[in-house]
């Protein structure tokens, strides 16, 4: 397998684009990634297009917008891990030696439809009659499992929302760039206990793209090629309750074990992680799943300041956070989590998310992340989990 580099990335601002077609959003991301890499469309040998709602033909429609060069197109759908799975397919295309330079695009147009609409015939729907199967319920219960095991309080989860919304104020591409102090998060409208409105990611539209190249050719295009040190995909192994309560933990742990081994590093080597905070509860679970803190310590970890940009709680929030801090807690890692503002602020247009996370890490490794720059970032990880279930981890290195 050859070494693979990312030589160009892009992400359009996530939000709502009612006047534009999703292929136009995706084409803009693709075009901007080409410009970022300094590569012409005709140099691209294959396209990997991640889109969940428009699956079939999504990639061909992108090329109809930005350049019909006749190259192979692979359309990918893999729940929330759609974009990152497209990226991984692109990675393998280069690593295997099949191609030298390819493009991965992730896109989605969700509009204002929530995820709460009823599906199918209301007479025979199970939703709300035999429990709940929608994401707010799944991630509410996943958080409650952590509370059950370790006594994690609602406030601990809420701090993930405070942190990520704080980070988002420095990300002009985020769908929302508004701070939310702890009391605002806690007093927000309840969606599914313990997650309030500000602890749930918004739906929206967006696109992101990456240009991948073999490392030996990458220097023709850039002085800062970013190495893909690991690219991993797992599905859920058999666990006791996973047919009723989706298990978001085991497959993430399996992916982390493989990814650290592939990259030859440990969690303590990660400067930063963009992880899948679709709900605030999920962020804390993934601290432990990815080995960023010890088992059961996620609540103490976020309150310690370690995963915040600068590895400290901002002065204005110190008073709010103090009651949830354990002064004796020594963070295992100083890995900054979700410097972009995370899905909670940046938005989560399903197919776009996995590529956007990679773009974010690349900008930090190049030192181009502006006011939210993680100082001296050398190694970053992008994590995505899609329910039913798919987990991708990509480790990127300077």
């Amino acid at each position: 397998m050859r070494e693979v580099a990312v030589i160009g990335v892009s992400m359009i601002k996530f939000g709502r684009y009612p006047d534009r077609d999703v292929s136009q959003l995706a084409a803009q991301a693709g075009h901007e990634a080409l410009r970022d890499a300094g590569v012409e469309m005709k140099a691209i040998e294959s396209l990997y297009s991640g889109n969940l709602y428009a699956t079939s033909g999504s990639g061909q429609r992108i090329l109809q917008q930005m350049g019909q060069t006749g190259i192979p197109v692979i359309n990918v759908a893999n729940a929330c891990a759609t974009g990152s799975t497209a990226f991984r397919e692109a990675y393998f295309a280069i690593a295997s030696g099949a191609y030298d330079i390819v493009m991965a695009v992730g896109s989605e147009q969700m509009g204002k439809q929530g995820l709460l609409g009823s599906r199918g015939d209301p007479a025979t729907s199970l939703e709300g009659r035999v429990g709940s199967y929608m994401m707010p319920a799944v991630f509410g219960m996943a958080g409650m499992e952590h509370s059950k095991q370790y006594g994690t309080q609602q406030e601990h989860f809420a701090l993930a929302s405070v942190k990520n919304h704080f980070h988002s104020t420095q990300n002009p591409l985020a769908q929302y760039q508004r701070e939310s102090p702890l009391d605002e998060v806690m007093n927000g409208r309840m969606i599914a206990y313990p997650n309030t409105l500000l602890m749930c990611c918004p739906t929206g539209d967006g696109a992101a793209a990456a240009i991948l190249c073999s490392m030996d050719k990458a220097r023709q295009y850039t002085t800062q090629p970013i190495k893909v040190a690991a690219s991993v995909l797992t599905s859920d192994p058999y666990t006791d309750r996973d047919l009723t309560l989706p298990d978001i933990n085991t497959l993430t742990r399996n992916a982390a074990r493989i990814a650290y081994e592939q990259a030859g590093i440990g969690p303590e080597d990660l400067s930063q992680v963009e992880l899948h905070d679709c709900f605030a509860t999920a962020e804390l679970l993934h601290y432990e799943n990815l080995g960023l803190c010890e088992e059961g310590m996620a609540g103490k970890h976020i309150a310690s300041g370690a995963p915040w940009i600068g590895n400290r709680i901002p002065t204005k929030y110190q008073e709010d956070v103090a009651p949830f801090q354990d002064k004796t807690y020594k963070p295992k890692t100083t890995t900054v989590v979700n410097a972009s503002g995370g899905l909670l602020s940046k938005g989560h247009p399903l197919g776009a998310t996995g590529v956007a996370n990679i773009a974010e890490i690349v900008w930090h490794l190049r030192g181009q992340a502006g006011a939210r720059q993680v100082e001296g970032s050398k190694v970053g990880m992008a994590h995505v989990i899609g329910l039913c279930s798919a987990c991708t981890l990509n480790i990127l290195q300077k």
Binding site: Y133, Y238, L245
Partner: protein, 168 residues
């Protein structure tokens, strides 16, 4: 983002689809099919009266793993069984819960959604009723008991019965 359509696993879904299709074909032969009483999930067996209803499961005779509902293959040991039908206990314990405040339009919120563990080593998705849906009223490990009731009716007049749990 799509979830399993319900908690019984894909093989069971497949079975229920086949059964439903069969039923449909049969009913299309008869001009005026009488409205039926149907279970909302394939793993609920209806008795003569509601107090005779029970949840059904299956046991893989190769590895002894129990499942909710019927199965074609074992997702744990990958064997084709054979599977032996089992009757699941109506009594269980709350593993985790959440309170849904933003519900789908035809459902009244807030309500308690939970995962209940049954003594056979399986768990089911369910609503917990008979308690005011407030976090302070809920406990992990709380003992609950199943009951069934009619929850909906389709355009052809068929009624659907669902199971729910309430404090034991």
């Amino acid at each position: 983002m799509t979830l399993r359509s319900h908690g019984c696993g894909s093989a069971a879904c497949a079975l229920s689809m086949v059964n439903r299709r069969k039923k449909k074909e049969e009913s299309s032969l008869a001009e005026t099919a009488a409205p039926e009483l149907r279970p909302l999930v394939p793993y609920l067996t209806l008795g003569e009266t509601r107090d005779k209803d029970f949840l059904n499961g299956s046991r893989c005779t190769k590895c002894n793993t129990n499942y909710v509902g019927p199965r074609l293959y074992c997702s744990k040991c990958s064997s084709e069984g054979p599977f032996e039908p089992i009757r699941l206990s109506p009594e269980g314990e709350v593993h985790v819960w959440t309170i849904i405040h933003q519900a789908t339009p035809y459902v009244q919120a807030p309500y308690i959604a939970a995962i209940v563990d049954l003594p056979e080593g399986v768990s089911v998705n369910t609503n917990i009723v008979g308690i005011e849906p407030k976090p302070e009223n809920m406990n992990f490990g709380m003992k609950v008991k199943m009951f069934t009731e009619k929850v909906s009716e389709d355009r052809e007049g068929n009624s659907y019965v669902a199971y729910r749990f309430q404090p034991a």
